[in-house]
């Protein structure tokens, strides 16, 4: 049965216009990186370390090279340029030499005619390892042999921490950290490793250009930073490496670091054939960084009437084997450790260590997720100790514009914390559903484990906040190029990565608004036709792309006004400058270390089978500070999807390791929320335009993930009366078996 396709509605800023890629995505025509194809292409395969820590004694590729269909088997000796790369610090070997530092580290790459031939050849690569004692306990890492004796992250303006294996440590001191209140509550909180679990596996196609250069079609979050990492390793000039965005099947931070880019390019240049690499799901679990697992010690002191007096927090993050973006995660965890509350006195210590566990880096929420889980558990505990309603306690301490954070930064933009709390608290909580009912609407679901006996209901609440954009003095910018053609049409170029979040629509809706026309196209995102857009990360892309496209459009119109002919202008947009933290005190050294902030409040109703430990989230209501919604439907989609990822961390998602080896690298053993796990999410968009941002927009992707893990745990505590200090929660903890 068919219905006619509705005429496309070409929206402006503020409208729920249909996604520009919706139709090709529903018909299966949209080309993802794993769909890339070129005549005569070979298939690449990566040989990975089976050890978490080992010395490489020898590598013998001769047998693999003699296998049928095999065209190349490459080791670190075949890397013509820099042997190491890294998103921020060049500490990660393209192909391991001397040592491997984590389970799944790439050692050899193979190219063959058929993927199965490549897989079989990979099995015949003989690597002799001498296993070394892995560092797997982050609490002991600072007393063990250094994994990176050259300390690649030191000397970048960070606090000098002489302990071995420290990636970064940051101490924020504000007021009198020994200030006492009338009451004090403490807790220790832990979070496991979460995986981004984007559905589109890491993949791409590298095509040699016949002149020594290479084109790489890949799913990534930042094309230009990929190019700047790939080119030096190939010994090429940046312009000889062109990175093109292939369709991206989700990212969530997991595509900030390189995956197949250098490997594919190496194989392509070596064989002079196009080479495609597609990870399978197991390889994907070891092939990208994860969310940092954390342990957080917190103490909150308050007056009898519930005013926070002093907060003391110690955070330990396990960064795994390489630095990735751990230095920024460390500082984010510290920046948001006290929550969106005003407090005069604070001591926050945040440390990230190297270990031989899976490398960690960016994942949606980026340090703030971990902190929010701890500060919100503490706020509930404080409310209980003071016998104050938990929502009222949060309102009494809510941060507001003009207040200062523990870093000394005064909030100059919008941050409607009290507003999101009130708007969320106003949402009517659904009545408890009667028994008996269909088991699908009980904890345990289709497993039919209860008829309702032992099921308790709980209601939880949480508030969280996070920065928008890159911080601490990073030169954060976005480029856009606009061509106004003689026939009246326009072409927009911007290398912002459409990863599913909808930035293509942000660009188009902005350009349509500014140029006041529907007659325009967005050119494919590539490094070859426009400057850097920066990363689709840190909830920054909407703000930055809208800023750059708006500027370029306005400049193009002015230019045409002047010249009357065709115009082609490129403009670079920067958000207000940030400055680093003082390395000793963690205080801001200029007006701001973070550009802006966004907050969200969430209320959760959950049911728990207190005998079996099974849970069911029944309903979620949330109010989020979105600045201004460029596309309200897409904003809701971000809130619903971001909430689901936080639910996953709360209830089920954990990359499990033993001795540094991942033991559950599949969707059979690593569970992500399904249609049966997600409740309805009611969202209120609180629009309070950000003064420094184009149209007043804020990023919206991360706050729901920051707050939902905390809010769900709050509901589970309410239902069970237990502390539940670790996520994902275990059945044992829910029923009180320790």
């Amino acid at each position: 049965m068919t219905v006619p396709a509705e005429k496309l509605r070409l929206g402006r800023v503020g409208e729920s216009a249909r996604r520009t890629d919706a139709v090709p995505k529903v018909t299966g025509e949209f080309a993802y990186s794993s769909d890339a194809y070129a005549a005569g292409m070979l298939w690449g395969r990566t040989v990975r370390s089976p050890h978490a820590h080992a010395r490489i004694r020898s590598i013998d590729v001769s047998e693999a090279l003699a296998m049928p269909g095999v065209h190349a088997v490459l080791t670190h000796e075949d890397v013509p340029g820099e042997k190491r790369y890294g998103l921020e610090f060049r500490d990660q070997p393209v192909l391991a030499f001397d040592r491997v530092r984590y389970f799944g580290e790439p050692v050899v790459v193979v190219a063959a005619e058929h993927p199965e031939q490549a897989r079989r050849a990979a099995d015949r690569v003989r690597i002799e390892y001498e296993p070394l004692e892995p560092i797997v306990d982050p609490e002991r890492a600072t007393e063990q042999e250094p994994l990176h004796p050259d300390r690649p992250t030191m000397g970048h303006g960070y606090r000098d921490d002489p302990r071995p294996n420290v990636v970064r440590s940051l101490v924020i001191r504000r007021g009198d950290p020994d200030a006492r209140g009338d009451v004090s509550v403490s807790g220790v909180y832990e979070l496991g490793i979460q995986d981004q679990a984007f559905l589109g596996p890491e993949s791409g196609l590298a095509v040699p250009d016949g002149e020594g250069g290479v084109d790489v079609y890949v799913a990534t979050q930042w094309l230009h930073v990929d190019r700047d990492q790939v080119a030096p390793c190939l010994g090429l000039r940046p312009e000889q490496v062109r990175i093109h965005l292939a369709g991206v099947g989700g990212a969530f931070g997991g595509r900030e670091d390189l995956s197949m880019q250098i490997h594919g390019a190496l194989l392509a240049l070596h064989t002079n054939r196009p080479v495609k690499i597609v990870y399978d799901r197991q390889e994907s679990f070891v092939g990208h960084i994860h969310r940092h697992p954390a342990k957080i010690w917190a103490e909150h002191r308050a007056t009898r009437d519930g005013k926070l007096v002093c907060i003391r927090v110690r955070i330990l993050l396990d960064g795994g084997a390489y630095a990735s973006s751990s230095t920024a995660v460390t500082s984010n965890a510290a920046s948001f450790a006290c929550g969106p509350y005003a407090v005069e006195n604070a001591l926050v210590e945040s440390t990230c260590v190297y270990t031989n566990n899976p490398p960690c880096g960016a994942m949606r929420g980026f340090g703030a997720v971990q902190s929010c889980f701890a500060h919100e558990a503490q706020m509930d505990k404080l409310a209980a100790a003071l016998r104050i309603d938990p929502i009222e306690l949060r309102l009494r301490n809510a941060l507001a514009p003009g207040d200062s954070l523990p870093t000394g930064q005064r909030i100059t933009g919008t941050l409607p914390v009290a507003d999101v709390i009130r708007r969320c608290a106003e949402l009517p909580v659904p009545e408890a559903e009667e028994l008996p009912r269909d088991p699908i609407r009980l904890p345990g679901g289709a497993g039919n484990t209860t008829r309702g006996e032992g099921v308790r209901r709980g209601v939880g609440f949480a508030v969280g906040f996070k920065n928008i954009g890159y911080s601490e003095g990073f030169d954060d910018y976005c480029t856009a190029r606009v061509r106004l053609l003689a026939d009246g049409s326009a072409e927009v170029h911007c290398a912002a990565a459409e990863v599913g979040q909808g930035v293509a629509n942000v660009i188009l809706q902005t350009a349509r608004t500014e140029l006041d026309t529907d007659d325009l196209v967005l050119a494919p995102a590539t490094t070859s036709s426009v400057g850097s857009a920066g990363s689709a990360s840190a909830s920054r892309m909407t703000w930055m792309a809208a800023g750059a496209v708006r500027e370029a459009c306005r400049a193009a119109l002015a230019e045409r006004e002047r010249t009357g002919g065709e115009v082609d202008v490129e403009r670079v947009y920067r958000h207000p400058r940030t400055t680093p933290f003082d390395p000793e005190t963690g205080q801001v050294t200029g007006e701001r270390a973070h550009v802006a902030y966004a907050c969200a409040a969430m209320r959760v109703v959950a049911e728990v089978d207190v005998e079996l430990g099974l849970t069911r989230v029944v309903w979620i209501g949330t109010a989020q500070d979105v600045g201004r919604a460029v596309n309200p439907q897409a904003v809701e989609g971000q809130i619903e999807g971001g909430t689901a990822q936080g639910l996953g961390l709360a209830l089920m998602e954990e990359v499990q390791t033993r001795g540094g080896l991942i033991t559950n690298a599949s969707f059979t053993d690593y569970l992500v929320p399904t249609t049966l796990d997600m409740p309805p999410v009611e969202s209120v968009l609180v629009e309070d335009p950000e003064p420094d941002a184009p149209y007043g927009v804020k990023g919206v992707g991360e706050p729901p993930t920051v707050v939902s893990t905390a809010a769900i745990l709050s509901a589970l505590r309410d239902a069970t009366g237990r502390e539940l200090t670790r996520v994902p929660v275990s059945f044992d903890e829910v029923v009180g078996l320790d």
Partner: protein, 151 residues
């Protein structure tokens, strides 16, 4: 080995290696990459197709098992350039973000409505529980299925 099968109403023939899945054959041999490869172990539903009108994970079917059979993929749902009502509803409600899960959801939802014209919310959730989506949190996918059912 040589396999002959009907895909989206058209006869196809391909030379396959005996270990290849139907998913691989569709994507890499027959030029139909619409069915997706998110796990290739039967856990995510992104590869969903209809095999003789039954919903299957094409990653769990060998290409040679499909020899002589009839396959419908996401590419075969639209008719005469008009989107299937499920496809149209997914586009209209915002049920698509990265879209990697979308082909599988669209095929599974079309199959659901074929067998149950007016599913309840619980029936929708249960019918689609074999399809993972990492982006949307499913809310707008449910909206899409309800919208398609109402038409």
């Amino acid at each position: 080995m040589n396999v002959r099968l009907t895909v989206n109403g058209e006869p196809h023939e391909a030379e396959v290696w005996e270990g290849e899945s139907l998913l691989f054959a569709l994507r890499e041999r027959l030029g139909l990459p619409g069915s997706k490869n998110a796990c290739e172990q039967g856990e995510c539903g992104s590869c969903s197709v209809l095999l003789d009108d039954r919903l299957v994970c094409s990653c769990l079917v060998l290409a040679v098992q499909a020899d002589g059979h009839d396959v419908v993929t996401v590419e075969g749902l639209a008719e005469d350039g008009r989107l299937h009502r499920v496809q149209e509803a997914f586009a209209a409600t915002g049920a698509v973000q990265c879209g990697f899960c979308t082909p599988g959801f669209v095929v599974a939802a079309a199959d659901l409505l074929e067998h149950n014209a007016d599913p309840s919310d619980d029936e929708i959730r249960e019918a689609l529980s074999g399809n993972l989506c990492r982006c949307t949190g499913y809310a707008k996918i449910f909206d899409a299925v309800r919208l398609a059912a109402s038409q």
